[in-house]
């Protein structure tokens, strides 16, 4: 039952408030119990003292002016809350005179005292409960000079009123204290919870590439500030590394492309000038290789940057349908040459904020693979559907499919599936580039076999 009151998802301010209420409530209750015990004890002593004082006074009065004097004084005494009761009996308990207010008659007045009163001035004090009265009757008896016994009774109603009064004040004080007890809750919400929420929001923004948000700690407690500064220092370090990687990438690109350009220039000149048919053929092949090497350098640098979240994305609002339509249109003649059917299945029109060129390259790599590994007469279908604010693009083929052991390993660099035939050229970089691009957008890519043969590859791009 307790676990129901304390569910896992209960927000911490509620937990704290619930605890505070419990603590305050229990402390008020304990204070009330102890105060009641203490006050009741005190009151009892006071009552007994008063009654014995009164009995002595009345005994003196009786000695001086008999019953008439006692009666006169008794009736003249003001009784602010409850009247006292008086009775005069013989030593055998026979009533000579009594003046008892109605509500006190219901108590069972004893005929004899508990203690026997032998000498003049002997006193006995008793407490009597009644079945139909909630109050307690304090009773005292004294032996007078003539052997008669004078009884005085009073209820504890006044004491009860006082006790009620004290309890009322205690409740008031307790509830005020409870309100003050909510100050820690407020402090907790402002100095602990608010910074934590701001951390969460910042951390969410950090997932986006190219974002240099840091944890902000205005008004947070020192421990959280220490945490934030440690995390921020780590983030600064990562950012510095990322920047360094970008710079070295630029440098590498430059250092590799410039010599390639020099070689290509000379080779092209040679190709154009030579009259030797074989030499020209060799030069043509070399030119193709240089172009392939250039593309490889670019691909490697893109993957390297993508792996370390250092890929600079040039995001643009892009219609996914247009992008896919253009790509499919580009591949259709090549697919028809291979006697394959390539189709774009129309879906809902989606708009994404992506690096158009990189996403085009990723999808084109999937299409390139699908065309390469599907036999003549097969079918390649491109689909897209929305997922949250993002989208999933899938390329299905009816090709040879994936070897179950290779479903993950084909995404690694330089790994080619066992289905790769030697005549299909490639470095095994295509799929790792696809994944790098998807991940640079905060998404992912994957692939699996389809029921009934063939493979399906997907790219997930979240909304940005």
């Amino acid at each position: 039952m307790f676990s129901k009151l304390w569910p896992e998802k209960l927000p911490s301010p509620w937990r704290l408030a619930l605890l505070m209420v419990l603590v305050v409530f229990v402390s008020i209750l304990l204070i009330l119990i102890f105060v009641r015990i203490a006050v009741t004890q005190d009151m009892r002593v006071t009552h007994r003292g008063r009654i014995s004082d009164n009995l002595m006074e009345y005994a003196v009065l009786y000695t001086q002016s008999d019953l008439a004097g006692v009666k006169k004084v008794f009736q003249a005494t003001p009784h602010p809350i409850s009247r006292n009761a008086m009775r005069l009996t013989t030593s055998y308990g026979q009533v000579i005179y009594e003046d008892i207010p109605g509500y006190m008659k219901s108590y069972d007045w004893p005929k004899q005292t508990v203690k026997s009163l032998l000498e003049k001035g002997d006193m006995d004090l008793m407490e009597i409960m009644s079945s139909d009265q909630s109050q307690r009757l304090y009773l005292g008896a004294i032996r007078l000079w003539d052997g008669n016994t004078l009884w005085l009774g009073r209820t504890d109603s006044q004491a009860r009123n006082q006790l009620d009064n004290i309890e009322r004040h205690l409740w008031f004080a307790g509830l005020t204290a409870a309100l003050i007890a909510f100050l820690p809750v407020m402090w907790y919400m402002n100095d602990v919870l608010r910074p934590i929420h701001s951390f969460i929001r910042s951390a969410e923004r950090m997932r986006l590439p190219g974002n240099n948000t840091r944890l902000r700690t205005t008004g947070a407690i020192p421990e959280l500030r220490a945490l934030a500064s440690v995390v921020n220092a780590g983030l600064d370090q990562i950012q510095a590394l990322t920047r360094e990687l970008q710079t070295t990438n630029d440098f590498l690109a430059h250092e590799l492309r410039t010599p390639l350009a020099r070689i290509r220039g000379n080779l092209e000149h040679f190709h154009d000038q030579t009259d030797n048919e074989q030499a020209r053929e060799a030069a043509a092949r070399s030119l193709e290789e240089i172009d392939r090497a250039t593309q490889l350098v670019q691909t490697l640098l893109t993957i390297r940057a993508g792996d370390h979240a250092a890929l600079r994305l040039h995001r643009q609002v892009t219609s996914l349908d247009d992008l896919l339509e253009n790509l499919v249109e580009l591949f259709i003649p090549a697919a028809e040459d291979r006697r394959l059917s390539l189709k774009l299945e129309p879906g809902l029109s989606l708009t994404l904020n992506v690096d158009r060129e990189l996403l085009t390259q990723a999808v084109s790599n999937l299409l390139d693979n699908a065309l390469a590994y599907t036999r003549a007469g097969g079918q390649v279908v491109v689909r897209s559907h929305g997922e949250g604010t993002g989208a999933v693009i899938t390329v299905d083929d009816t090709g040879v499919g994936l070897h179950p052991a290779e479903v993950e390993s084909i995404w690694e660099r330089y790994t080619r599936g066992s289905a790769a035939r030697p005549k299909i050229s490639g470095m095994g970089l295509g799929l790792s580039l696809v994944r790098s691009i998807a991940m640079a957008h905060g998404g992912n890519a994957g692939g699996q076999n389809r029921e009934g043969g063939g493979a399906t590859f997907w790219i997930y791009i979240p909304g940005a």
Binding site: R257, L260, R264, G265, S286, Q298, A334, D337, Q361
Partner: protein, 224 residues
């Protein structure tokens, strides 16, 4: 054409200089942004070929400065930086075209001629080649009374090839101009498309021909 090349790599500078002379263009060569600025104060050229990574000033900055001073000479960036962001930056700075290293000489020439033409020549409305008529406004090809159905991309490809008649255009250049794709998509997509276009235009008496040159690209030729 009068050209100014700003390039700090001596080998590339020499090569471009040789080619341009062979092609019959006049080329001046400066090695730093500062000397190029001085040259531009005294002289003028039809197109400026500018390397981005210069030893003194960044090529982008130089163009920004030129444009602020009101110099409208077309600028082609010749650079090793292939990122989209760099390309966007270059065009935003006021550049007119962008070519990444390594490059094919004929592609450079084709781009320079296109830049020069854009400034100087009005676009013709139609061309007659043999018994074939190309309507450049309605984007239609007809042989006598028969017209050939061309897909928009096929027309686009034909137009690019035709605009650079006689120049061997690399696959990369065609992908950029026709499909706006700046990488090699692997599969022989361009080859397949060129073959298809070639088949459609294979009509007796047609005055044009698209040739494939191994290792270099495709060339559009008119049969006179």
């Amino acid at each position: 054409m009068n050209l100014l090349l700003v390039e700090d790599d001596p080998e590339l500078g020499r090569q471009v200089g040789g080619w341009m002379n062979d092609a019959g263009h006049q080329l001046w060569w400066e090695k730093t942004a500062t000397t190029a600025q001085e040259w531009l104060k005294k002289n003028s050229c039809d197109v400026l070929v500018l390397d981005v990574g210069l030893p003194d000033t960044n090529g982008f900055t130089l163009v920004e400065k030129m444009r602020r001073e009101g110099v409208n000479t077309p600028v082609l960036f010749l650079t090793a930086r292939a990122d989209v962001s760099d390309r966007v930056r270059g065009l935003a700075a006021g550049g007119d075209d962008y070519l990444t290293k390594p490059f094919a000489f004929e592609e450079l020439l084709a781009r320079l001629e296109a830049l020069h033409r854009r400034v100087n020549n009005p676009v013709p409305t139609h061309r007659n080649l043999g018994n074939c008529r190309l309507d450049l406004v309605k984007r239609r090809v007809s042989f006598g009374n028969e017209s050939v159905e061309l897909q928009p991309r096929e027309w686009c490809l034909l137009e690019v090839l035709m605009n650079h008649e006689g120049r061997v255009l690399p696959k990369k250049f065609l992908l950029e101009q026709v499909w706006d794709i700046h990488f090699d998509p692997g599969t022989n997509v361009v080859d397949a498309m060129v073959c298809r276009l070639r088949r459609k235009l294979e009509v007796p008496g047609c005055g044009m021909q698209i040739e494939t040159i191994r290792g270099k690209g495709y060339v559009f030729k008119t049969l006179a």
